[in-house]
């Protein structure tokens, strides 16, 4: 808005105040109040009641444990995949490259329920691989591996999407210099590539982990709802709620919400580092006179 400096008269002030009030009201009503009510309900029986609900119910304990094992494995898979895929896409030009990039986004576009059903169609008893898996006595659907697969699917884009712009903006110069000086592939990766992308990578990991912990839809389809075996935290919240154990359900929900708040803080710190790094990069570029504005733009967090 070019006229904003002169337009400090009352009507626009009123409008801006109104807009701020609306923003605060929306954030308050949609985010703060519901979140607070979860914590309020969770601690309605006091801290002791909360602890009893979270730690003394074996099924709930198992659900927390399950989420804490499924999410990291899914995130680890996505980290390896994300780094490899982002490197491929950022460093090479090949036929079908843009198609591949669009495929990374499929998990965002597809409903998680559809993702879960697709897994059932492949790994279910009547699915493509069903007979083979049955012969091996390997359980995928309605067991731990299925939960990991579903979670991996829905969190797939988060790491790779985070890395592609950063890798593109950094460019291949440093890596090529290292190679010309005789560094091996792993040396280049550990000493040049990884340090350059570390904050972006961490950012992607944190986001993927948050999504993985909270995943409901895809996991709902492949879980089989076995209490104390295949119920993750979000599924346990739903189940407790339906069993009329609202405070217990909210107690588990508060654990999830707590994890989300921790994620938020970590994310905030990382974003600061990312911004600082982008500024440094810009400074370095502008002093050596080369122009990389187009790629820098893409590096924005």
């Amino acid at each position: 808005m070019p006229t904003s400096r002169t337009a400090t008269i009352d009507p626009s002030k009123a409008v801006s105040a109104l807009l701020v009030a609306a923003a605060v009201a929306i954030v308050g009503l949609l985010i703060v109040v519901p979140l607070m009510s979860v914590f309020y309900e969770a601690f309605s029986g006091g801290v002791a009641g909360w602890w009893r609900a979270v730690a003394h119910d074996p099924d709930t304990r198992h659900a927390i444990w399950l989420s804490l094992t499924v999410a990291p494995v899914a995130v680890a898979i996505n980290t390896v995949f994300g780094v490899a895929a982002a490197w491929l896409v950022a460093r090479f030009r090949f036929p079908g490259r843009s198609l591949l990039i669009s495929f990374f986004d499929v998990p965002f576009a597809v409903s998680p329920v559809v993702a879960g059903l697709a897994l059932v169609l492949i790994f279910g008893r009547q699915g493509l691989l069903g007979p083979t898996l049955a012969w091996l006595h390997w359980k995928v659907i309605f067991a731990w591996p299925g939960l990991v697969l579903a979670t991996t699917f829905v969190t797939l884009p988060l790491v790779v999407r985070e890395l592609i712009p950063v890798m593109e903006s950094i460019g291949p110069d440093e890596e090529m210099a290292a190679v010309s000086l005789g560094a091996s592939g792993w040396q280049v990766f550990w000493q040049i590539t990884l340090p350059n992308i570390r904050w972006a990578l961490l950012h992607g990991i944190v986001l993927a982990n948050a999504r993985a912990m909270g995943e409901f839809g895809a996991v709902y389809v492949v879980s089989g709802h076995i209490a104390g075996a295949t119920d993750t935290m979000p599924l346990r919240v739903e189940k407790l709620f339906q069993e009329y154990r609202q405070p217990a359900s909210m107690a588990v929900a508060s654990v999830l919400a707590g994890l989300a708040l921790v994620t938020l803080v970590v994310k905030f710190v990382i974003e600061h580092r990312l911004e600082a790094e982008a500024r440094e990069l810009e400074l370095a570029r502008s002093t050596d006179g080369t122009t990389h504005d187009a790629t820098l733009e893409a590096a924005g967090p």
Binding site: A134, F142, H225, Q242
Partner: protein, 340 residues
């Protein structure tokens, strides 16, 4: 040497993995694990049954049993078992769901004849839950479509509870002397007054009792008691003059128990539902146990009398499924989603 070693290592890992997968099944000495795949409202019932049965079985056979439960909408549970959920027994809401599992090859054709009363150990009836003081004066089926009464019932396509509520409404119109057309008009009117169709029984209960939507909730007697107990005096149960008898069948999943070598426990588990101890627990949870002189829900109480008709009134399950809930069936024809 290195690449060759690698190849051997990979081969060894694959073989070992496969072997572990196959062996772990047989080499377990802990308690026998059973998985009971059931529908929404039976969570509390089977929690008690499981405890009692585990004690009973250990006394009789000296072996510990650990029973796991899985609950969701009956139709989706049948689907999950067909897709490989490792159920030892299924205790589902409606006959077609168990029959679907049988048709997939997991049950033998004679499953229905293995236990008394066509493998239906307990039954229930569809009743009304209304708000305190019954402000809309709902006493019987006809009152559902008077004034601005709004009705909560789950989706009959996915939910056993929903199917029974639909059939109860339909059958009550016939039982009152109406024709098929009268029944259709009545049921159309009922679903015109249904603002939300949840997928399962429990979700519908939450809609009615916790979100406060609707004037009357059509549900099973056992579920109604739980709902009213939870609501702390805010809700009450109304028994219509007549209603449908809800017959949830049980079955041992032959293929799974034979593979897991759990047939003996699984059969004893379902048999336990017919013992006097099992029947008392069933009654306590407000399911009506099968057989002569059913025990009351609690000492000194009696089962409220209600005239019942069964699925035969609406043509039996096979006909009802196709006619009412099949693709392009009566329900598809009469139901228009919210907004009308």
């Amino acid at each position: 040497m290195a690449p060759r070693l690698n190849r051997w290592l990979i081969a060894a890992i694959v073989v070992f993995g496969a072997a572990v997968g196959r062996v772990t099944q047989a080499a377990d000495a802990g308690p026998v694990e059973l998985l009971n795949v059931s529908y929404d409202p039976t969570r509390e019932l089977y929690r008690d049954i499981n405890d009692a049965f585990a004690k009973h079985y250990e006394q009789e056979h000296g072996r510990k049993v650990a029973i796991k439960q899985s609950h969701a909408a009956s139709g989706s549970q049948a689907r999950a078992v067909i897709d490989g959920l490792d159920a030892d027994v299924v205790t589902l809401a409606v006959w077609p769901d168990v029959e679907a599992v049988a048709k997939s090859g997991l049950l033998r054709g004679d499953w229905q004849r293995r236990y008394d009363n066509d493998s239906v150990p307990y039954h229930s009836v569809v009743v009304f839950v209304v708000r305190k003081g019954n402000p809309k004066g709902i006493k019987d089926w006809a009152d559902l479509v008077k004034g601005d009464v709004s009705i909560i019932t789950p989706n009959p396509k996915t939910s056993g509870n929903g199917k029974y509520s639909f059939l109860a409404a339909w059958g009550s119109a016939l039982a009152a002397g109406g024709s098929e057309d009268d029944a259709k008009t009545f049921v159309t009117e009922v679903y015109r007054r249904t603002p939300v169709l949840d997928t399962g029984a429990r979700a519908a209960t939450a809609t009615f009792s916790q979100k406060g939507i609707g004037d009357v909730h059509l549900t099973f007697e056992n579920e109604a008691h739980l709902e009213v107990d939870e609501a702390g005096g805010e809700l009450e149960i109304i028994y219509p003059t007549r209603s449908i008898r809800v017959d949830p069948p049980v079955a041992v999943v032959d293929e799974n128990v034979d593979r897991k070598a759990t047939r003996h426990v699984a059969e004893a588990y379902l048999g336990f539902l017919y013992t006097s101890e099992g029947r008392a627990i069933i009654a306590k949870h407000h399911y009506r146990p099968w057989g002569e002189n059913p025990p009351p829900p609690a000492a000194g109480e009696t089962w409220p009398a209600i005239e019942t008709f069964d699925i035969g009134k609406v043509g039996g399950w096979e006909v009802a499924m196709k006619k009412f809930f099949g693709e392009g069936g009566v329900f598809d024809a009469i139901y228009q989603p919210a907004g009308r």
